[in-house]
């Protein structure tokens, strides 16, 4: 679990500034989160309330963290728990908070050649690998292969299924395709190749119309996908806009915002893309759930 940092800056400001010079909050986020449109949906209210511009650059997880480490942004939004912990341990961030979650799904062609529909994710992966290495026709798995949060999750599933990723999975045959690109393009590739892949639900829903893929596995603890926000440690980079970053995190955790998160996407996809992550759920997912004063 992440350790809350003892920042020198108050985690909340007494009252949002309604006037005075307009502030700027630079945010780095992973593409899959930004591409859903959630952040642009949440942004205007914050900007109005806090008299600030939120400038969001969406990048690959690794790149986003690199930007954060170099102090080029004020706040980081990612979904890769292991690396987040490392990031915090190295002292780059403060105020590490979870603010939403959803589930990855495993999609594949409707014909489901490996017959995995409804299986436990770890078992499904094992089955795909066995069939793939055997060379069964029509079995393929497309991996993001780009070190993203989704890729990290995929590796975690392989591990849980009892495989050493680099030895047992990578380069074991044509069945395992390392795409090295974004989620949407990976989905397109899986669709074109009639392959399985692991995807976040939001991107899948956005691309659904152009894909010949159906969700085959939507259940399983291991598929859970938790999104966090981290303020960049202002002690490392003096000019950091940590106040505004913290305000944004506080804003994310507000009940009203949480409701908006939970409702996001309903109008378009008929169901929400994210679940709220405050209150009871919080501790369950191993997040820092201390209440924020004035949030």
């Amino acid at each position: 679990t992440g350790t809350p940092s003892e920042g020198t800056i108050p985690l909340t400001s007494p009252r949002p500034m309604a006037e005075g010079p307009r502030g700027t909050l630079l945010m780095a986020t992973t593409t899959s989160l930004y591409d859903t449109g959630l952040l642009d949906f949440l942004r205007p209210d914050f900007e109005k309330e806090f008299n600030a511009d939120v400038r969001i650059t969406s990048q690959g997880t690794g790149k986003a963290m690199e930007l954060a480490k170099r102090g080029d942004v004020d706040i980081l939004l990612v979904h890769d728990p292991a690396r987040e912990i490392a990031f915090m341990d190295e002292g780059y961030g403060i105020n590490h908070r979870c603010f939403a979650y959803n589930y990855f799904i495993i999609v594949g062609p409707a014909s489901d050649p490996a017959v995995i529909a409804g299986m436990k994710p770890e078992d499904a992966f094992r089955k795909i690998l066995t069939e793939g290495i055997k060379g069964t026709a029509g079995i393929a798995f497309v991996s993001r292969g780009d070190g993203s949060g989704t890729h990290a999750k995929e590796q975690a599933i392989w591990k849980a299924a009892g495989f050493n990723y680099t030895v047992d999975v990578q380069k074991t045959g044509a069945w395992y395709i390392e795409a090295g690109k974004g989620m949407g393009e990976t989905l397109v590739m899986a669709s074109e190749k009639g392959a399985y892949t692991l995807t976040d639900e939001g991107t899948y829903l956005a691309f659904k119309g152009n894909l010949q893929l159906t969700p085959l596995i939507e259940q399983g603890e291991i598929l859970r996908n938790v999104y966090s926000a981290i303020t960049i440690n202002p002690d490392r980079f003096p000019n950091q806009n940590a106040t505004l970053a913290n305000q944004f995190i506080t804003y994310l955790l507000r009940d009203t915002t949480q409701q908006k998160i939970a409702s996001f996407g309903k109008d378009r996809y008929g169901k929400g893309l994210f679940s709220a992550l405050q209150g009871a759920d919080c501790v369950r997912f191993g997040c820092d759930c201390t209440a924020l004063a004035g949030g």
């Binding site: 400038r55 102090g71 080029d72 691309f207 980079f237």
Partner: protein
């Protein structure tokens, strides 16, 4: 293939309804790429002229290096500028990262070798006898280079048009330096990349068509200007 048609329809729709976000992005795109092209032209054409005109050791090497930089991937150019202007970099204090000014810088650097190289090629195409005539008429080195540029103006204009095309169409440096920040550094190419990654293929195509329409307008203006001033200098 329907998407292409759809894209066309959508492009027309975006244009005629004056979609404010598209207009904002388009204007920014045009500003940044025109400015980059202008800066690169001001630097590269005289530099190309001087390299062409002067004889010095290692000239061939320099020309080959310039031509090698034709192959500079935009991401690498972007990375290079990123390292310079990132907060931890030597010019971090200028706060150029994730700003349009930073994008202009990156794009200028990116198209500089192409424009200098094509200027060199253009000038090599001018007959030696013209150069002799100009020198014999008492031109200084600078005047000679300027006159040679005037003689090769069509080819050099071609180089400028190409530089503009490269600037307006590149995405790597724009993404790396601009960050595709909505309302601030988003340009057509980064918007296209975003829409593509979001699966909005026909919207991507629509934005691509708008980009080409802008390029066409610029080219038409260049063509008209060029036609008007043919015989005079």
């Amino acid at each position: 293939m329907n998407e292409i048609l759809e894209g066309l329809v959508q492009a027309v729709h975006l244009i005629v309804t004056l979609n404010p976000e598209v207009i904002e992005i388009s204007v920014r795109t045009l500003e940044i790429s025109l400015l980059s092209t202008a800066i690169a032209t001001i630097v590269s054409v005289p530099v190309g002229g001087l390299i062409h005109f002067r004889e010095f050791r290692g000239k061939r090497v320099i020309v080959t290096l310039i031509q090698t930089l034709y192959s500079l991937p935009t991401v690498i150019a972007g990375l290079f500028v990123f390292l310079l202007i990132s907060r931890a970099g030597p010019f971090g204090f200028l706060r150029l990262l994730f700003t349009p000014a930073g994008m202009v810088l990156a794009q200028s650097l990116l198209i500089l070798p192409i424009m200098a190289g094509l200027t060199l090629t253009a000038l090599s195409g001018v007959d030696r006898s013209k150069r002799d005539t100009i020198i014999s008429l008492g031109a200084t080195e600078t005047q000679t280079v300027l006159s040679l540029i005037h003689e090769a103006r069509f080819a050099i204009l071609g180089a400028v048009v190409l530089g503009f095309g490269r600037a307006i169409s590149e995405v790597g440096a724009a993404m790396m330096i601009g960050g595709n920040i909505r309302g601030f550094t988003r340009v057509l190419t980064t918007a296209i990349a975003l829409e593509t990654s979001m699966g909005n293929i026909s919207l991507s195509l629509a934005l691509g068509i708008i980009l080409l329409a802008i390029a066409l307008a610029v080219n038409l203006i260049v063509m008209l200007v060029q036609q008007e001033r043919v015989p005079h200098d």
